[in-house]
Subunit: 371 residues, 2 copies
């Protein structure tokens, strides 16, 4: 195989649950000249990223930065730092990623209560608030946008109840950051993590996180050692925090940070609320057009995510065959279901620079020809 | 600040301990069209990377792949998987990175013996073999190329002695992979980790690791749960292993894998031994020319790394002032010393595509004007 052959990759339109196609400017930013991770110019770029992330998370949390790993690494960092063996944890599980959060809590050795709710719905608020009052958890974990089911979770009184009972609230914003309403400070969320390859229109490989002062105070009172070095917030602060000496912790993934820097710039240029509106409009356009080929949304309107819409696969339609034809004949990727939703739903993502009416048209043209 | 201004980054010649300037083809590869992490075409590229990594590590270990994090994450993954609380560990500490490995072992709760040897020298073999016989460690950790001091560690009888006493040997190859002789199978090394931004001429953000069958057998016999999910080899195998169903574990950093794919192709095109020879030749050229400005190598010849050469800073020369003039006036980065070597040595890296005679000439022209 010559070098020329092997590097040819057909362009794909990625309309699954992620990764999405990065913005062209972001891809170009990856090729910027390499700098050292302690070079003042790089630290300046890194600090701009932190500031822009604060704007996109809608927070003033000083400790807001991209973890050097994929979205899952942000979950691991937050849970490893803010949850200890023996702690009472309450995790809401209404999909694959809620389940993963609960698995993490159990791995840490926390006394974990799983609040199981129906896949495809949101939390029953009264039940959940009651559980918080009853178990008084030190740590509550909720998936804001459950990518496996297409459900958004509204916060309402949850944060206040968590705090009243002495806990902190961790929000999985992997699919919501940059795609829909998210107000870290406005809703009083303590810690949150996301990823680079969905609403931020960057390649996968970074996990933006934000940590409140309340959570940092809690970190200082840990009884046990943080089990990880790579994901150790105390250790990493010496590099992240611009009031400190910028001690070496690990070599930052410079090129990926360049991409994030550009992706965030584009978001702020578009305007965060305009971006949310665009995602909302195009999700509505998707759903309106889906009726033409008999696709019914899996989630009722008020619980629906804008970034990833889930549809029930019509009776008699073969999941695998349709998806592989879409990919191989039309170069379009959509997502199948996970776990108990396997072969039952499709997950169609319109995220970041992929949230466009013309992509919806292209998808339905192809689906119309296949089904 | 307009978008145009902020994206202008002056080209720097990175002659420190890493990152190095990636090869131009690698940077271009980062912009290849995005694929999904379960797309058959991406899995094909990923498998090619695994195969090429095996060639560069000189191993037939099936389990050879890039961890989705920086070099430190590879260290954490291997130590978290192959070392348990209560295990006897022996770590050779003759520099910053040996010290970090020992810190990791202690964090895990292993009964850790630190074999301290002089910074700037290699291990005293007889002493070390004696310690292995005495402590019979389950886990022995050695830094193959100690980036903080510029010392290479020769393996000789060490692996055989480790195995005879029932242990496995973990090698930190962060600075040696792709720059000098490294024979994972030939030397009978059990597990090893490296990084992308030095000898492989890629951006920072990946940590290639390799794991022998002997180590995998050991993994099966763990008494305790692996403390991490992100770095959990058992869990990640379901995605990595091409004989399995490729279950989702985390979203691979696609663009970075494209870069690695190209970086490894270039290495194999050059020829691994030719690449080692190039690093050797240019390190000799560096040392020969260094006498012109009174720079003496810190490490004696037989212990010297080719990738990063350390020099004693001449009396009366101010470390910080020279390095910041080099960076700001000439666009050249070199490294200072760490810990007890701070302000005592310079670390000059000639790695990957940066290992060139003309870079040495450019450096000494600048240094000659400054000092």
């Amino acid at each position: 195989m010559t070098s020329k052959d092997e590097t040819v990759i057909e362009k794909r339109l990625l309309l699954g649950p992620g990764p999405s196609n990065p913005s062209p400017n972001v891809l170009q930013a990856l090729t910027r000249p390499m700098l050292g991770h302690l070079d003042p110019r790089f630290l300046e770029i890194f600090d701009v990223c932190k500031d822009r992330l604060r704007q996109v998370f809608r927070t003033e949390n000083e400790l807001t930065f991209p973890v050097s790993g994929t979205g899952t690494s942000g979950m691991e960092m937050l849970m490893n730092n803010f949850l200890e063996a023996g702690d009472e944890a309450l995790i809401a599980v209404g999909g694959f990623f809620g389940g993963r959060m609960a698995d993490f809590a159990e791995r840490i050795g926390a006394k974990t209560t799983r609040y199981n709710y129906e896949w495809g719905t949101s939390i029953n608020k009264d039940e959940f608030l009651g559980l918080i009052e009853k178990t008084k958890p030190k740590f509550v974990g909720i998936v804001h946008a459950e990518t496996s089911t297409g459900v958004i979770q509204h916060m309402d009184e949850i944060p206040a109840t968590v705090h009243k009972n002495g806990g902190i609230l961790c929000l999985d914003c992997v699919t919501s950051l940059g795609t829909c309403e998210l107000e870290i400070d406005g809703w009083d969320i303590d810690i949150a993590f996301s990823c680079s390859q969905k609403g931020l229109a960057c390649p996968p490989g970074l996990s933006p996180i934000t940590v409140s002062k309340r959570a940092m105070d809690r970190l200082k009172k840990r009884r046990t050692t943080i089990p990880s070095f790579y994901f150790n917030l105390k250790e990493i602060l010496a590099y992240i925090d611009d009031s400190q000496k910028r001690a070496y912790h690990h070599t930052a993934p410079i090129s990926m940070i360049y991409g994030l820097h550009e992706g965030l710039r584009e978001i702020l240029e578009e305007g965060l609320e305009a971006r949310w509106q665009r995602h909302r409009d195009n999700a509505h356009y998707l759903i309106k057009n889906a009726t033409g080929i008999d696709l019914t949304p899996f989630v009722k309107e008020e619980d629906r995510l804008y970034a990833v819409t889930t549809f029930m696969i019509p009776n008699g339609v073969d999941d695998q065959s349709v998806r592989s034809q879409l990919l191989n004949k039309y170069g379009i990727e959509i997502g199948g279901g996970f776990g108990k939703l396997a072969e039952k739903i499709w997950r169609i993502g319109l995220m970041g620079s992929n949230s466009k009416k013309e992509h919806v048209d292209r998808l339905f043209e192809a689906l119309g020809a296949i089904i």
